[in-house]
């Protein structure tokens, strides 16, 4: 048993756009049904090829797939399971452009019609009578007022080649079917009332493929995500943005912009529908703090510089940021993660900036205090400087003379460069939890020389005892 309509009025489609209307076939029986759908008797009145400068003549055709179009397709096979449905689309063959004489002559719209025949064959062999559906449609030259634009947001980004390297990348979408737009007006304002805004006109790109509509595809403009980079942003200045659709009928309602700091955008329903209230979010751009987290078990001479560069797409250009915040965690908390130093000239944590190509190896931007901050937060971490070596005796057997190496200094906890780039100094902030420890390395000890008092040859027969070193925590895991 198949339920169907005997007549269908297709949605209007305007010049330059494609359009479709779906016919749903519902199988309410108990067995799968194979449908053989044909379109015939296509007819267009009021318009011909000479009116639209187009080589594509004809009018309606059908397809089972909106993304895989064959303009000459007049037949579709469709199998529908019981209590399920299938869809066949009736599409308007695209007329890419009407002649101006046609538009201005006050000609009537084009009327089109066709007949769709559906032949159904049940899997058990039953064959129903053919279904015949008459379809009619219109090609109109009059645009309707553009609907509201949706999903309008702007993401802050960075381009080192720009005079003002921070900019915003704007995104928006058409969110309703059969939306016929030829462009958009995007306005950027320094005030919430949009007094004297800067308007950016964005035209919908025309297709060159004659098998496609002039604008968009057979779904209209749906599914397209439009974007534009605006680079006129001044740091720490208020900005607001709104957008409207444009076509021959005029302009649509404004949608107001939502701002984001990164591309992991999660728009809520209001933002998606374009109903964010005026003036939208403040799109002020600022240098950001790069936030990082890492978990370790043990590190020796940890190279913070190398780590930061690796986390910045292997770039030492950090001018997008005015600061960096790194959280260090122990993999085995509450046991401490130990960061140790291997020598008295290295720290458990090292931030030493190399010269790259003879220039600065760490490019940064200032915060509001005209400085750059590196903030390191340690959670369940032990930071230990290197323990100095104790005195070490040595003996040259050839002459039986003893000499020694002096004990050495202990090492520091950190080894941070005092660095300035473009008059921007780096300030370091060390944050700790109550479990983390920070011990500088102890100095090595002196040695001993012992002998029996009445032995004059003290240095040759004496006992020589090396000094010791203290290794804070674990220098080896």
């Amino acid at each position: 048993m198949t339920t169907y309509y005997t007549g269908v009025q297709l949605a209007d489609v305007v010049t330059g756009f494609g359009g479709y209307t779906g016919l749903v076939l519902v199988n309410s029986g108990n067995f799968p049904i194979k449908y053989d759908i044909n379109i015939s008797k296509t007819n267009l009145q009021g318009i011909d090829a000479s009116d639209c400068n187009d080589t594509n003549t004809g009018t309606l055709f059908i397809s089972a797939d909106l993304n895989n179009i064959n303009l000459s397709n007049n037949e579709v096979e469709l199998t529908v399971n019981p209590s399920s449905s299938g869809v066949v689309y009736v599409l308007h063959r695209p007329y890419r452009n009407f002649t101006s004489s046609f538009i201005t002559a006050g000609n009537i719209d084009g009327y089109e019609s066709a007949e769709i025949t559906v032949k159904s064959l049940s899997s058990v062999g039953d064959e129903d009578e053919n279904i015949t559906i008459d379809v009619t449609g219109r090609r109109i030259k009059t645009f309707s007022t553009p609907p509201r634009i949706g999903s309008f947001f702007a993401v802050e980004d960075y381009n080192s080649t720009l005079a003002n390297p921070l900019y915003r990348n704007f995104f928006w979408s058409v969110i309703t079917n059969n939306t016929f737009l030829t462009g958009f007006n995007l306005q950027l304002s320094a005030n919430t009332s949009f007094t004297s805004p800067t308007t950016y006109q964005y035209s919908v790109v025309q297709n060159q493929d004659a098998n496609l509509p002039l604008y968009g595809n057979y779904k209209g403009l749906l599914e397209n995500i439009y974007s534009i980079d605006l680079t006129d942003f001044t740091i720490n200045t208020n900005y607001y943005a709104r957008i409207q659709g444009v076509n021959n009928a005029g302009v649509g309602d404004y949608s107001y912009c939502t701002g984001f700091d990164n591309y992991n955008v999660d728009l809520d329903g209001t933002g998606y529908s374009g109903l964010y209230t005026s003036p939208g979010g403040n799109l002020k751009v600022n240098y950001r703090v790069l936030n990082l987290s890492r978990y370790d078990t043990y590190e020796k001479d940890f190279d913070l510089y190398e780590y930061l560069v690796s986390q910045n797409n292997n770039s030492y250009d950090f001018r997008r940021y005015s600061g960096i915040y790194v959280k260090f965690f122990s993999n085995n908390a509450p046991a401490l993660c130990n960061y140790v130093a291997s020598s008295k000239t290295t720290g458990a944590i090292n931030f030493n900036i190399p010269y790259i190509n003879g220039g600065d190896g760490f490019l940064i931007s200032p915060n509001s205090s005209n400085r750059f901050s590196i903030e390191l937060e340690f959670n369940n971490c032990g930071l230990y400087g290197h323990g100095g070596d104790g005195l070490i005796w040595k003996n040259d057997n050839s002459n039986l003379e003893w000499t020694y190496f002096e004990p050495t200094d202990g090492g520091p906890i950190f080894n941070f460069d005092n660095y300035t780039y473009n008059a921007i100094p780096i300030d370091y902030y060390i944050y700790k939890d109550i479990y983390s420890v920070m011990y500088a390395g102890s100095a090595g000890s002196k040695g001993w020389l012992i002998n029996i008092e009445n032995n004059d040859a003290l240095d040759t027969q004496a006992f020589h005892i090396d000094g010791f070193k203290i290794i804070n925590a674990l220098e080896t895991p």
Binding site: D409, I413, D427, S442, A443, W448, I450
Partner: protein, 540 residues
């Protein structure tokens, strides 16, 4: 660790010198960290020289490489013909401990700052909480310590009029807890709560400041007389066990009742002059149970480790596990393994045979200099216009965990153990008998007690000390692991709340600027700051 141990083993040896073919001298050596006169922490090669005569140990001399710069002679007459003279001297130059940041050549440090990060703890996890977090400079003296909002059983702790005076510094406010001679109870409350047998945790954070230094025993630090007494669980009876003992798998326990009249008390002392924590026979808590159930209760915890070992032993272990057996011998007593901090505090007591009473266990954050301008002068704690040269902050963590000791039939026992800062202070058994269901709120007595007048050592003057309260919280957990997790989270959040005191600064503490680096001597290290380093700029 293995490197050090290997080296110790490889070089630890004895020296035998034959005289007249039968006498010998033994030489042992060991090492430990030590603090030199200019504040450097250096490895210290220590020698224990002794002369054996007729297999008898004699004239043992313990010497340190950091103090023995000249030759010293150990003289022993080992026979009628000969005497044995040992000559020893240290060799080498004293070296420097590391600083906070490395520098080569002339000091050229960047600006480096230190602080704590915020940790969040929700009051909804607590049964009650008193905190001074909301105090401000405009707060006035009161006799009521009000409960914070958001806890499950809010009530107020009421004491004598105006016994709590808000005082603050570094952006943090505390209640100065008025002294009252004779050990009177200053704040005293009975509260009613529905008894619940679940793992519980109590946290108390307080400070004791002393306005005068020294004592007759010659220590550099003022005595600490903070005495805190807390009566816990005056009467507990009749529980609905099918809900609360779900995790204990009590058999046939549709309904049990706990029949026990329990009264126990715990006192927490800090006796700076006690060299290591001890179990004193005084102040033994009492526990009375019906039906002759055997009861065992530990004596009161007394000691000067009022911070949990979690914040003491582990962090110091790497540096301080070289404490030698000989220390124990010379002290002649138990040497608790957690006393690394004592060793750090004043390691010299062992071989100098100083009185161990000189060893101060609490961490006096007043000693920590925080001024880059002059790193030798500590910034003292000033509160309410009074200077406290000695000022220590204590975090007391108490855990109480119940479990079923015997669930075979009617004689089921519930055991409740209480630990204070890692040491068991109380353990009681209670028999569980089915039959009754009572969930009536019971009366509990909660006290905060400041016995400034107590004189446990005759040579100690207590009258110059003052107690300051920061936080007092109590919470329940479903499991012991949850109990620990919550308690430590709570302590972390409190440490953040009072971070101004820990870094002695209302914002970030600057550790280095272009020319100066702060010095944090190991002796001034506070467990919650837990760092030590020297000031390389001050060394030559």
């Amino acid at each position: 660790m293995s490197d050090i141990q290997d080296k110790i083993n490889s070089q630890q040896r004895s020296l035998t010198i034959s005289v007249d073919g039968k006498n010998k001298t033994a030489l042992l050596f060991d090492l430990s960290p030590t603090v030199t006169s200019n504040g450097n922490i250096v490895a210290d090669t220590m020698l224990n020289l002794s002369v054996e005569k007729d297999n008898k140990k004699n004239n043992s001399v313990l010497i340190s490489s950091t103090t023995s710069t000249d030759e010293v002679v150990v003289n022993e007459n080992i026979s009628s013909l000969h005497s044995l003279n040992l000559k020893y001297k240290t060799v080498g130059q004293e070296q420097k401990q590391g600083g906070f940041n490395y520098t080569s050549g002339a000091p050229n440090w960047p600006n480096i700052y230190l602080n704590f990060r915020k940790k969040i703890f929700s009051n909804s996890d607590l049964e009650f909480r008193f905190s001074t977090r909301s105090l401000t400079g405009s707060s006035t003296a009161t006799g009521t310590w009000s409960c914070e909002s958001g806890v499950k059983n809010p009530f107020n702790l009421v004491g004598d009029a105006d016994c709590l005076t808000p005082v603050g510094n570094f952006g943090v406010y505390s209640y100065k807890f008025a002294n009252k001679s004779g050990g009177n109870v200053i704040a005293n409350n009975t509260v009613k709560m529905i008894p619940r047998i679940l793992p519980s945790y109590t946290t108390l954070v307080f400070a004791v400041g002393t306005t005068s230094w020294g004592s007759s025993s010659g220590g550099n630090f003022a005595p600490l007389n903070g005495l805190l007494r807390q009566y816990l669980g005056k009467r507990v009876q009749k529980f609905t066990l099918n809900e609360q003992f779900g995790d204990f798998n009590v058999p046939n326990a549709n309904v049990y009742s706990l029949i026990s009249a329990i009264k126990t008390s715990s006192s927490f002392y800090d006796w700076s002059y006690v060299p290591y924590f001890n179990l004193l026979p005084t102040n033994t808590p009492t526990a009375t149970f019906s039906k002759g159930i055997p009861t065992f209760a530990y004596p009161v915890f007394v000691g000067n480790i009022l911070n949990h070992p979690r914040y003491m032993g582990e962090a110091s272990y790497g540096l301080c596990n070289f404490a030698r057996k000989s220390y124990e011998d010379q002290d002649g007593g138990v040497y608790p393994t957690r006393l690394y901090d004592r060793f750090l505090r004043n390691y010299k007591f062992a071989y100098t045979k100083q009185s161990s009473l000189d060893v101060l266990m609490h961490h006096n954050i007043s000693n920590w200099g925080t001024s880059l301008a002059d790193t030798t002068i500590p910034q003292q704690i000033t509160l309410g216009g009074t200077v406290y040269p000695s000022f220590s902050i204590f975090f007391v963590q108490m855990f109480s965990t119940p479990y079923i000791a015997d669930n075979s039939g009617e004689k089921s026992y519930m055991v409740n153990e209480t630990y204070v800062n890692g040491f068991k202070t109380c353990e009681f058994y209670s028999q569980l008998i089915p039959g009754n269901v009572v969930s009536t709120p019971q009366t509990y007595l909660i006290q905060l007690f400041n016995d400034f007048g107590a004189d446990y050592y005759n040579d100690v003057i207590f009258s110059n000390s003052q107690m300051f309260l920061f936080d007092y919280s109590y919470g329940l957990a479903q499991t012991p692991s949850e109990m620990y997790q919550k308690s430590y989270s709570l302590v972390e959040s409190i440490a953040y709340d009072i971070k101004g005191f820990l870094v002695k600064n209302s914002s970030n503490l600057q550790l280095t600027n272009s020319t100066s680096s702060l010095r944090v001597p190991i002796a001034d290290r506070h467990p919650y700051v837990n760092m030590f380093l020297n000031n390389p700029n001050s060394l030559t």
